[in-house]
């Protein structure tokens, strides 16, 4: 796996990266059963990757919900439909903003941390040392982080959505004066469990979790073991994750809507 920048052109370079990442993903899947031996390590990673991201996720969720309610109220009042604010806030967050923004924040916070950590482990021979000690580094280092990401991202998305709806309620009801009962009853009448929560929150966030974590682990594992290499790798993690998230969002929305 050669992550050096080749002068073959941007497109073939990107394609090579995507292909290498996918192949790495398959290898990683093969190492997942082995990682079940290192269950505690996976749990540890879920903590670092998931629980430690809670602060940023919940804060941003709150703000997104608040802003959304503010903007929607403004627009809906043109049609006299401000009673639908709760509905639209919930639908927008469940279907789009929740999964996408959470995944982007995750890529920025946890994805880069995974990439840097694995890259540094490579640079300081820790990966080699593990191989010397007959411990499969894929099973010990890469797979637990991968699994942790898949577990953490949907959970974080759900937290984001909760804070978003609460933020919307805060602005809509407490500040802008929408009736509390109207807010909730309109929302519950329109938001559908299957279409919005399962399809939107769970399915999308699951897919995003897989992709973002895979990219982060891949970049960390295949970076040239120098400090410059690690720096490039973290940047690439964020860029590649962001593009992948938004592209997949479109594809998934087209399928699910």
């Amino acid at each position: 796996m050669n992550a050096r920048i080749e002068r073959n052109g941007v497109v073939s370079n990107a394609l090579a990266q995507i292909g290498a990442c996918a192949l790495f993903g398959l290898t990683l899947l093969g190492a997942v059963p082995g990682s079940l031996r290192h269950f505690r390590e996976t749990l540890r990673q879920v903590w670092f990757v998931g629980a430690m991201s809670l602060t940023i996720i919940m804060t941003c969720g709150l703000f997104v919900g608040m802003v959304l309610a503010l903007q929607l109220y403004d627009v809906l009042s043109i049609f006299g439909g401000t009673s639908a604010t709760g509905t639209v806030v919930a639908i927008a967050i469940y279907r789009e903003l929740g999964p996408v923004v959470t995944a982007l924040l995750f890529a920025g916070r946890a994805g880069t941390s995974i990439t840097a950590e694995i890259g540094l482990m490579r640079a300081t021979d820790q990966i080699d040392a593990m191989e010397m000690m007959a411990v499969d580094p894929l099973a010990y280092v890469a797979a637990p982080r991968f699994l942790a990401g898949i577990v953490a991202v949907p959970l974080l998305t759900v937290m984001f959505c909760t804070m978003g709806v609460l933020g919307g309620h805060l602005v809509g009801v407490s500040w802008l004066g929408i009736d509390n009962g109207t807010f909730w009853s309109n929302m519950t009448a329109t938001v559908d469990v299957w279409k919005d929560i399962v399809d939107g929150v769970i399915v999308k966030s699951f897919v995003f979790g897989i992709v973002v974590t895979l990219i982060a682990v891949f970049q960390g594992y295949t970076t040239p073991p120098t400090s410059e290499g690690v720096a490039y790798a973290t940047t690439r993690t964020v860029v590649a994750s962001s593009i992948a998230i938004l592209a997949l969002d479109f594809v998934l929305t087209a399928f699910l809507v």
Binding site: L120, M121, T124, D125, Q126, D128, A129, E131, M132, M133, A134, V135, D136, Y140
Partner: protein, 277 residues
């Protein structure tokens, strides 16, 4: 899992390298290299920078595979081993990395205990005993609660050594163990290498530059340059065996069989001048 080396010193060599040829990035690292690592002794591998000494160690552990030739470790050809067998072999080999390669997430105790936890299901009490014993052997039992970031270079290396011997391996590979150490730490590591070899009979392979240290501890020295063994022998006799390689290496002269100038084109032409005929 562990084997107590019981073979007498003059039996079959622990490591036999025959005709090893490796090409990396177009450069021939090893050219039909032949090497024997005798059992129970300390063998030093020396040579100019970049001749692939660390690479040789990686061939012994199976991390790298040569393009041709054999690398026999305790009778098994490393090149043909499956991954599972390779892992089994590695449990009997200890490796000391140049930069210690301690796992940064764990403290000293956990670092040394890591191989035990990964490969055995020993009860906690036994693990504790083994770890503390090894740490005592390297003189760092009191540092068991420190993190790698809090250790000095020498201490880190000793912890890594404790970790390397936790399974009482049959073979230890030291990759530049003296680099960057102050004289006191250097002597501490030296003492450990010698003690491990004398008391436990562990075959030791040492890749190092420090002549004085090597001369104190090695039983046998190989000098490798240009992918071949260019000199070998006991350290006391090697410096004076008359070969231009040993003369340059042990004498420390900057120019000789290993040239000072990296191969380049004509100097005058590079400067745009013309030589007088």
């Amino acid at each position: 899992m562990t084997e107590i080396p019981s073979a007498p010193p003059d039996s079959e060599p622990m490591v036999k390298v025959r005709g090893l040829t490796t090409v990396l990035n177009g450069k021939k690292i090893f050219d039909a290299l032949d090497l024997d690592i005798p059992r129970g002794k300390v063998t030093a591998i020396m040579g100019p920078s970049g001749t692939g000494k660390t690479t040789l160690l990686k061939h012994i552990t199976g991390q790298m595979r040569g393009d041709a030739g054999q690398v026999l470790v305790d009778g098994e050809d490393v090149r043909t081993l499956s991954r599972e067998h390779l892992f089994d072999l590695r449990e009997r080999i200890g490796y000391l990395f140049q930069n210690s390669a301690l796992l940064t997430d764990f403290d000293v105790f956990e670092n040394v205990a890591f191989p035990l936890r990964q490969h055995t299901t020993l009860p906690e009490v036994l693990i504790r005993n083994i770890v503390l014993t090894k740490l005592q052997a390297v003189g760092l039992r009191g540092a068991a609660a420190l993190t790698p970031a809090e250790l000095s270079g020498g201490m880190a290396r000793r912890v890594a050594l404790a970790r390397a011997i936790v399974f009482d391996p049959m073979l230890i590979l030291y990759d530049e163990p003296f680099v960057g150490l102050d004289p006191i730490s250097l002597n501490q590591v030296l003492k450990l290498i010698r003690t491990l070899n004398e008391t436990l009979g562990i075959t030791s392979v040492l890749v190092a530059h420090e002549l004085a240290a090597v001369q104190q501890v090695a039983d046998h020295v190989y000098l490798i340059a240009n992918g071949k063994v260019v000199a070998q022998g006991a350290p006391s006799t090697l410096a004076n065996d008359g070969s231009p390689w040993t003369k340059q290496f042990f004498g420390g002269s900057p120019d000789g069989p290993v040239p000072f100038q990296y191969p380049a084109g004509d100097y005058a032409a590079a400067l745009g001048l013309r030589r007088n005929a």
